[in-house]
Structures are given as C-alpha cells and as structure tokens.
C-alpha cells in the first residue's frame, strides 16, 4: 500500500530546459501549428499568379487600393465571422443584416434627421440587439446556429425590403443619406479617405505617382481599409492574448468542458453574435455613406463570402480553432482574385471556379492541420 505519510517530493528546480523526448521543433513545424499559415501561403501563390499574368497596373498603388477597398469591407465581416466560428457558431444573417442596418441607419439620418453620430450609435445598438437575439435563441433552444441564423437571413432581408418601401413610399432605394449626413469629423471617420495630408506630401516629394497638376493619383487610404486593419489587429490580440480570447477558443472547442471549467460560455457566444451583427452594421454605415444611398440588395450573399474567407483563413467549421489574421488574409485573397481577374486576359467569371477550388483546398488543408495538432486521433 502507498505510504501516504511522506510529504510530496519538492520539485527539483534545476531541470533541463529542453525535454529529451522532444525533437528540436523546426521553424516549419512551429509555423505549421499556426492556423493562418495556409492563408498566407495562398496569398503568396495568388500574388505570384497575378504577377505572372496580370497587367502591371494591378500592382501600382492605385491598383492595390482597388483590390483592398472591397477586400476590406468583406474582411471586416470575415474577421467577426472567424471569431464566431472559433466560438463554435455560424451567423448566416450578416449579409441581410447589412441591408437591414443600412435601412435603419438611412432612416435615422433621412427620416428622423438625427445627427450622424447618434444615428450611427443607434444603428449599432439595433444591430447588437438583433445579434443578441440570435445568440439567445441559439443558446436557449440548443438548435444549430446554422438554422436559426438562416431564418434571420430571410427575416432581415424581408424586413429591409418592406421597410425601404415603407420609408420611401414604394421604392427599394433610400436616397439622400449622403446629403443629410453632413460634414464633420464623424463623417470623416466613416467615409472618404484617410491620411490625405500624407499622400499629398508624398506626391509633392515625388514618392508616389501624381497627375500633371501635382495632385496624387491616390489621394489617401479609404477609411474602410483602416477599419479593416485595425479590426484585424485588435481581434488577433484579443484572441491570442486575453481572457476573452481563451474563452472563445474554449467555448468552441467543447462548450461543456468549458462551462464546467468556469468559462461563461453563454455570455461569450452571445457577445460573439452581437459582434458579427455590429460588424455588419459597420460595413453598412461605411458603404451607405460612400454611396450616399441604401438599397435592399446591399450585402447580398456576403455571409457566404465572409465564411469562405474565414475558412480560407484557417478557421475550422467545427469550432475551437482558427485565426483572425487568417481571415484578414482570406479576405485579401478574395479581393485579389475577384478584382485581379479584370487585369488579366481571363474571363472574369472564372472567379467563382477559382473561389470554389480555393475553399475546397482550404478545408482539406485545415483538416490535415487539425489532425496534426491533435496528434492524429
């Protein structure tokens, strides 16, 4: 029988830094553990492909802005979708949420004539509430989020249509948002270009292309790109370095085990649903202010594009594994392929074929990585 009167041995302190059962982990192995590796490799491949086939103007500053502007709008959605997927859920309603949030935002600006800041804040509140409702339904009914948010895909799209007709007296487009929004610092945060001073200075010093008049060909970075980059950085930091990040991985990895270990799984999931809805609202505000109007088709099928970008970025469909910076790369690949084909002599409709192939490859690759990480069990 065990002698239990002896105290537990004190841990010997000076131990070898490296365990002898551990092979020297090569840089490659350590990289392989990162979920965004596939997306990064994909981005390199796609870039090489277009360097070889596309017109040189694609890789000028103006060309890059052309690619990054749509990529950034998708990317904001994709990063939020990736966080939600890592947390173990889907949101198929984000595309429709863009149209619905566009209507809400447009109505606050045009119909009630609220100041821009208030209208934007109110739009986020409405979106957040609907996201929270999505989450609560999923949590309380324990139905798959796939089906619950599919319902909201139709509900929100329908509400956007009906609401637009009601707000405009029969049209599916609400005009005049741009005019009513007015000017000012709030407008500048959500529309137009950032760093215009810097670009003017760069042009003046012949560091970037300029027109004969002296004005730069690219007057600044569209604000959506700035939002995109900031969101990617913050989301990555939260995911990898904070308590909330650990909880997101845990909630998606095994909600039961997470709950039993003291993770507030329901709160985490609800917050993630609110985040995806708010990311859709942000895209709505950015695009509506840019276009000056909103319509019922806004954000059509964006939910699928966002999920595809998240999967290309290394997120597992089963949850518990993935990366925000991967979704960032995934969205850029998406933008590069969709816009880049117009710079080549290929028919731009190859885009869909390319996309499907990319998705299939990414899923196969992710599966392989997952088995590697969990030791082929």
């Amino acid at each position: 029988m065990v002698d239990i009167t002896q105290p537990v041995n004190a841990a010997p302190v000076g131990r070898p830094a490296q365990d002898e059962r551990l092979k020297e982990t090569s840089l490659l192995t350590r990289l392989m553990r990162r979920p965004e590796l596939g997306a990064l490799a994909g981005l390199v491949l796609v870039t090489l492909f277009f360097l070889a086939t596309a017109d040189a103007s694609m890789f000028t500053l103006a060309g890059l802005m052309n690619i990054l502007a749509p990529a950034s709008q998708l990317g904001i959605l994709a990063i939020a979708a990736a966080l939600l997927m890592i947390g173990g859920e889907f949101d198929l309603s984000i595309g429709s949420m863009i149209a619905f949030a566009g209507l809400v935002f447009g109505s606050f600006v045009v119909l009630t004539e609220w100041p821009l800041l208030l209208a934007i804040a109110a739009t986020f509140v409405v979106a957040g509430l609907i996201g929270g409702l999505n989450g609560q339904i999923v949590i309380r009914t324990k139905l798959p989020s796939f089906i619950v948010t599919l319902a909201f895909l139709f509900i929100l799209r329908g509400l956007a249509l009906v609401g637009l007709k009601w707000a405009t007296g029969g049209s599916t487009q609400l005009r005049g948002v741009g005019g009513e929004a007015g000017e000012g610092w709030v407008r500048e945060i959500f529309s137009g270009n950032a760093f215009e001073g810097l670009f003017a200075w760069l042009a003046a010093n012949d560091l970037i292309d300029k027109f004969p008049t002296g004005l730069p060909t690219v007057t600044g970075i569209p604000v959506s790109i700035v939002w995109f980059v900031l969101f990617a950085l913050v989301a990555t930091w939260v995911l990898l370095r904070t308590r909330a990040g650990n909880w997101i991985f845990a909630a998606g990895g095994d909600p039961n085990a997470a709950r039993n270990s003291g993770v507030p799984v329901d709160r985490v999931k609800t917050a993630l649903f609110m985040l995806t809805a708010c990311s859709a609202a942000l895209v709505a505000v950015l695009t509506v202010l840019d276009a000056g109007s909103t319509d019922a088709r806004r954000g059509f099928q964006k939910e699928f594009e966002a999920i595809i970008a998240a999967v290309i970025g290394g997120s597992l469909l089963t949850g518990g594994y993935g990366s925000a910076i991967g979704a960032f790369f995934g969205a850029i690949i998406f933008g590069m392929v969709s816009i880049g084909l117009t710079y080549t002599r290929f028919d731009a409709d190859w885009f869909q074929v390319f996309l499907g192939a990319m998705l299939l490859l990414a899923v196969l690759f992710n599966n392989f990585i997952r088995r590697k990480v969990t030791g082929e069990r």
Partner: protein, 261 residues
C-alpha cells in the same frame, strides 16, 4: 459564520433528469481537513451528486449548504468562486487547446490596466510546468495541445489544475482510473497533503484500497440513495468492499477467481 459548520453539507438532495431519478434523497457532509470517500456501483449517482456540488446541475430539491450557508450555484463558475474545484470523470479538457490554456481555462491571471488587460502567459507556462512536475509529469512543451497527451497525462493536468485552484474543497471523480503506479501514489499523497492544509476532499473511486488508504469517512451510494456513512474506525476494509458492490455478494466470484478480487 460558524467555524465548525461543515465545508459542504447536503441534506435529502434529489435530482431528476426528466423521468430519470438519479438521486433520491442523498445526505453528505465534508469537514475541514477531512477526506470523504464517495463509493458505490456504476450508475449509483456519484457523478451526478458531485456535479450538483460543482454547480453543473441544479438540485431538484434538498438543502445545499457551504460553510453553514445555503447556496444555489447557477454555474460551475459560482462553485469555483466559492473555492470548490472539481476533477470531472470526463476531465473537462479541450483537446485543441494547449496544456497551459487548459490549465488556466476560466481562471486566467491577468496583468495590465483595462483596455490593455491581458493574460500573463509567461507566468501561466511557468506554473503549469511546475505543477505538472510536482505531480510527476514532465510536460514536454506547455504549448502542446492536450489532444496529443496520453490519457493519464491528461488526467494529471486536470488533477493538478483542481489542486492548484481548490481553495476550500477538492472534488475528485475517479481521478486515478488511467494513472500509472507512480502517478497514482502521487495523487494519493496529494489528497493527504491537501487534507493537512485544512481543505475538505471528496474522493470517488472504485478501488477500495485507495479509498481505505486516504479516507477518513466513507459514504456509500446505491441507486441514488445513501446506504450509510462510516468512519474509518467503524468499518473494516472487507465490509467496505461488500457495501461498495451495492451489497452484492462478492464472495462467490472471489473464490471462483482464486481470491484475487
């Protein structure tokens, strides 16, 4: 606060899952510096009982007191906050996450002021290594995914985690079922040590010798009811074994197998 009140006390605890009656009136108490062994057949309701204590299940009826005060835990987080740490039979580990992230899951130590508040992962890694080493497992790499650990190693992570975070009560649901000889004796030593620190321990096992080695009192559960509670001085190991089997006569089987059961 009455200092001599039991750390945990339940009276007439009942738990139904729909039409399934898992617990039909269980009473149990654990005091400071005491190891209470919870024994019983498969399906007796041991795990259901400790999951109720750990905040996973809400009791259908009955009293649940912590240090003399009635409590109603809404989630395992509440139980952890009350100083009750549990090693579940299924371990509650997440295979895709690293050893360190699993170890501190739900209890992450943070540093920095609010918008920049972050988990102190260097400290977490060091503690994980240290605690795993104490239990007799040399973690190759605290960043390795728990899914790549062996079953016993995984169990050790769960035990080390509970011992590290258990402030008042440590609940262990068959913690040694997958462990080697050295790790098992280490866990038994742990239980002894934890008792000496003044914590209460609830220890579930099917191994009567392990139970008898560390237990102060034994509560026998059978078909959702307490058969009785015995102090170590009141009961011999053979009697205990017979009670654990739910009163089934083991003698015949034992003789058939040459007295090895």
């Amino acid at each position: 606060m009455a200092t001599n009140a039991p750390l945990i006390e339940v009276r007439n605890l009942v738990k139904h899952f729909g039409s399934v009656i898992a617990l039909s009136g269980v009473s149990l108490s654990v005091h400071r510096g005491e190891v209470m062994c919870l024994l019983g057949d498969n399906g007796a309701g041991k795990s259901t009982l400790i999951k109720t204590l750990a905040g996973v299940h809400k009791p259908t009826s009955g009293d649940f007191l912590v240090e003399g005060r009635p409590v109603s835990f809404q989630s395992p987080r509440d139980a952890l906050d009350a100083g009750i740490a549990t090693v579940y039979q299924d371990l509650a580990m997440i295979p895709l996450m690293s050893v360190t992230r699993n170890f501190f899951m739900g209890r992450e130590p943070v540093k920095g002021a609010w918008p920049f508040r972050r988990v102190d992962f260097a400290y977490c890694d060091a503690v994980t290594r240290e605690e795993m080493h104490k239990i007799g497992i040399d973690v190759r790499d605290p960043h390795q995914a728990v899914g790549t650990l062996s079953g016993g190693e995984r169990q050790c992570v769960a035990i080390a985690r509970a011992v590290y975070f258990g402030a008042k009560v440590l609940i262990l649901d068959e913690p040694t079922s997958a462990l080697g000889v050295a790790q098992t004796s280490m866990v038994l030593k742990y239980i002894h040590q934890v008792r000496q620190k003044g914590l209460g321990v609830i220890f579930i096992t099917h191994n009567v010798r392990h139970a008898y080695a560390v237990g102060d009192r034994f509560t026998i559960l059978n078909r959702g009811k307490t058969l009785g509670t015995y102090a170590k001085t009141e009961i011999a190991i053979d009697e205990l074994q017979n009670l654990m089997a739910g009163g089934k006569e083991l003698q015949a089987v034992s003789e058939e197998l040459g007295g090895m059961v």
